[in-house]
Amino acid sequence: MKFRDRPLRLKLGIALMSISVVMILLICGAFFVHDYVLLGRNTVRRVATLGQLVARNCTDALAFQDPDAARELLGALAGEPHIVEAALYDQSGRLFAKFPAALADAAFPSHPAAATFQVGASEIEGFQPVVQKGRPLGSLYLRFDRSAIFRQWFADSAGIALLVMLGALGVALACSRAVQNRICGPIATLADTARQVAERNDYSVRAVKTSNDEFGLLTDTFNQMLTQIERLNADLERRVRERTAQLETANRELEAFSYSVSHDLRAPLRHVDGFSAMLRKHAETTLDEKGKRLLNTISDSAKRMGQLIDDLLAFSRISRSQLSHSDVDHDALVAAVIREGRHDNPALEWSVAPLSPVRADPAMLRQVWSNLIANAVKYSGKNPRPRITIGERDEGGERVFFVRDNGVGFDMAYADKLFGVFQRLHGPSEFEGTGIGLANVRRIVTRHGGRTWAEGKVGEGAAFYFSLPKATPTPSSSYDTAPLQPAANIAG
């Protein structure tokens, strides 16, 4: 997980702790440097003081040229563990006495230098003049090992520093906790509330306001939004309930209507056709040609109206029946439709591209293809070299399928009328049909969340397209709200 995706509380804690650690390290570092410098100065002063003390004690030994007394005096330096070497030089610069006594003369400076102490990496060495009442008697050499002092100082200081750092870190941790709680608490509470709202779709919960700062403002605004959403939601639900009730009523009425059409409108038509047939039979010998033609017209009209009623009922069934989606093998479906259509024109040339599988109601989708293919066959039948192309295009969020033919085509001015109920661009004498097929296609495709359109040119053929969304459409309600085409269209 990236750092920026970690919880706010952790990020804030890490930030606060980092700052604290850096500050503590800086402060400890500064103290260390200061202490180190101070330690150096103090040590030099200590050596110098020691030098002065020893030098004063040695005045008599030098004045009376008593090397034994000088050696004894220097030997007392063994009590000072950090003194590594000490030597006494007389007025002429000759080594007069040395400590430790066993060390070779060569180990000591051959003659005294200027009266000062030099600070080396681990040692301090230098000379202290031995003076009696303003008269110089010689020089004292001291070599002091400061590394042990340094080590001791370092061990003490580091221990203290560690303790201070731990203590400071503890305090920093406690402070950052407090800050975290102060800052993250309200944010976490707000986030929790938001999650509750999102997960349970419960808009009745409210975030608790704990302060009057920006968080308080945020909480107030959030709660106001919840109130608004709750109100809108309730309003929406009420309206959906109302609409659903209206739709259910409308649907019941529509069902009663189509039931009635189905039962009652067809019976008289059957009688018209039946009795005109019986009349034709009854008056076979007395009827002249005109009489027979008139009877045939009555009969044909009755049959046609019967067909129209059947088509209209089928169309309304498409709107009312529940869609049952499943995965459809598009290639197999189209192949079956072509095969079962028994399009026996040997000149007819098919070009069928592979089609993507889709999720749809298989029976309904079959009707779409069946209608489009039957149309293509019908309207290309008068071309000596009829050709039908079936294919697919990928257009962003949807798949577009098409059936193209090189038949009689149509005038684009009427492209939109094609999909209306009982809309036809040709008379029944040219091409048979009632004009319900494309209306069914549009209704089915619309119910699947897709679109339908057509392109064509008179004499050059036509192409019919329908799209299906790539994502599975949400299950459609059994109540289709799309109204029937206006009455004017039906009459047309």
């Binding site: 009652d264 019976a267 059957r270 009688h271 059947d310």
Partner: protein
């Protein structure tokens, strides 16, 4: 008493519309069947005839070859006749054909659920209608062998 063979059994036509009665009878008569064809104007009369009661009281209980019943009739409709026929042990095994103008799915489902032997949608075109009724007549009056164990209790008073 053994039931008569199916070509001597009556055919019941329950149909409220006189025009439909005339067309159906015309089609059946063209077959020259020997069977008597009884017409009742609704489901109530059809049940009375079946049980020899009401207007048909006192007649012997009929053993129809088939009941041709219209779905939509006044008083008692076709589906209710079918339900009562199937509910009564004495008529339970009778052949019942629902004749109707409707291709409504709900009617089909209900008809078969109640135990209809066949469901025939009357075609609008006269030639097809004649053909359909002829086939029904031939099948049920001549071809079909009725159930031998059709119970025939004595006629109810």
């Amino acid at each position: 008493m053994t039931p008569p063979p199916s070509n001597l059994r009556p055919i019941l036509l329950a149909e409220d519309n006189p025009n439909d009665v005339e067309l159906t009878l015309s089609a059946l008569h063209s077959l020259n069947l020997a069977n008597e064809i009884v017409v009742t104007k609704d489901g109530r009369d059809a049940l009375d005839w079946l049980h020899s009661q009401g207007d048909y009281a006192g007649r012997p209980r009929p053993h129809p070859a088939v009941l041709l019943i219209d779905l939509k009739m006044p008083r008692i409709d076709g589906l209710e006749v079918l339900r009562q026929v199937r509910a009564d042990p004495s008529t339970r095994t009778m052949a019942v054909v629902l004749l109707t103008s409707s291709r409504e799915e709900s009617d089909l489902v209900k008809g078969y659920a109640l135990g209809a032997n066949a469901y025939v949608v009357k075609p609008v075109a006269f030639e097809q209608f004649i053909a359909a009724v002829n086939q029904l007549g031939v099948f049920w009056a001549l071809l079909n062998e009725p159930p031998p164990s059709q119970p025939l209790p004595p006629a109810a008073p």
